[in-house]
């Protein structure tokens, strides 16, 4: 497990370094995620080694958002007078984006399979 965590942190570190060095606007962990995927393609054994730790971590991905969520509570007043409009915009646009995204996915999938 410690080995897997060290590898995860190593790829995150590499991602952060690359993003800074090349001035990319992508976050370091996202680059590390892409690099680790390519590493799995090259060395499939690495995947088998890391799978249990990665699955354990991802099973509780929700927990990791709690501290940031608590942080937003004190900034809710920043929504100001437009608060209602902003909240309606978030709820409706998120609902639309999910419906449109999933609808387009299944429609195109059907077309491609024909």
């Amino acid at each position: 497990m410690i080995q897997s965590i060290a590898i995860l942190l190593g790829f995150q570190l590499g991602g952060e370094f690359t993003a800074r060095a090349l001035g990319l606007s992508l976050p370091g962990p996202v680059l590390g995620f892409a690099a680790l995927f390519f590493a799995f393609l090259l060395v499939p054994r690495l995947h088998d080694l890391m799978a249990p730790t990665a699955r354990g971590l991802l099973a509780h991905l929700s927990l990791l958002f709690v501290p940031a969520g608590v942080g937003i509570v004190r900034h809710l007043d920043k929504l100001g007078d437009g608060g209602l409009g902003v909240l309606v915009a978030i709820v409706v646009s998120t609902a639309l984006a999910i419906a449109v995204g999933a609808g387009v996915f299944v429609t195109v999938d059907r077309l491609v399979r024909k």
Binding site: I5, F11, Q12, S25, P27, P29, V30, F33, L36, F37, A39, F40, L41, H47, M50, A51, T53, A54, L58, A59, H60, S62, L63, L64, F65, V66, P67, A68, G69, V70, G71, I72, V73, R74, H75, L76, K78, L79, G80, G82, G85, V86, A89, I90, V91, S93, T94, A95, A97, I98, A99, V100, G101, A102, G103, V104, F105, V106, V108, D109
Partner: protein
């Protein structure tokens, strides 16, 4: 014997108490979700955040003190993002075979999220910095903050909007997708990841590993798409 108030002030200022509180609040949220028969609107993040916000308010603890403890949990977001490579690898054949529907859903979902949010907010009279800060709300926080800053929004406000969008998507996705009779785990996960970044991805992993893998890919791709299109779309609304 030491006074309770002294013990409290010692513990409340250190990381141990608030780290424990974060884990316990999440466990309560997860337990309530199980007890409710896994109803999507009984969301563990929402419950934990609400519980902790009340506890912090009642005990007059400021966020900086809380974060001293909670930062250990927050820190794991980075390694967890890297760990998404495992479900991506497990589902690589399915993902490769789904590249056309993914590309179409990515573009449609990303544009819908940005355009509809800006149009609705402006119809309510929202303008200026608040409107601009809304544009990157569906993408993962670090990218959203960068985009907001680049187009003249407020990063702090964007952080709030990103989290609200994530929780909203996690809560409403299942009812909407069930209503639309979409049972394809790939489509469900991908739409969630596009609209609601990591919090949507966390929710998708509760449905299935496949759903989570597609959500993770969608989150990564939408980070790129949003960074490219948000600066262009916002021009239509200024």
């Amino acid at each position: 014997m030491t006074d309770f108030a002294d013990i409290w002030s010692y513990l409340a200022s250190g990381p141990l108490l608030w780290l424990t509180a974060t884990l316990v609040a999440y466990l309560i949220g997860a337990r309530l979700q199980t007890l409710s028969g896994r109803k999507p609107w009984v969301n563990p993040v929402l419950i934990a955040v609400a519980l902790l916000a009340v506890v912090l308010m009642v005990t007059r603890t400021d966020y900086e003190t809380y974060f001293e403890g909670a930062q250990f949990v927050h820190f794991m977001l980075g390694p967890a993002t890297v760990a998404l490579a495992v479900p991506l690898y497990d589902n690589r054949a399915l993902i490769r075979a789904s590249s056309m529907p993914m590309l179409a859903a990515l573009i449609a979902g990303s544009f819908t999220a940005i355009l509809s949010a800006l149009a609705i907010a402006r119809a309510f009279g929202v303008t200026g910095e608040v409107l601009i800060s809304l544009a990157p709300k569906s993408t993962t926080a670090p990218v959203a903050l960068g985009v907001a800053e680049a187009i003249g929004g407020s990063p702090t406000l964007t952080a709030v909007l990103v989290i609200l969008t994530g929780i909203t998507g996690a809560v409403i996705a299942a009812p909407i997708l069930n209503l639309m009779r979409i049972r394809d785990d790939r489509a469900r996960g991908f739409a969630l990841g596009t609209a609601s970044h990591g919090i949507g991805t966390a929710r998708a992993f509760q449905e299935s590993q496949t759903s989570g893998a597609f959500a993770g890919v969608a989150m990564g791709l939408n980070a790129i798409v949003t960074a490219l299109i948000a600066p262009l779309v916002i021009q239509l609304f200024l």
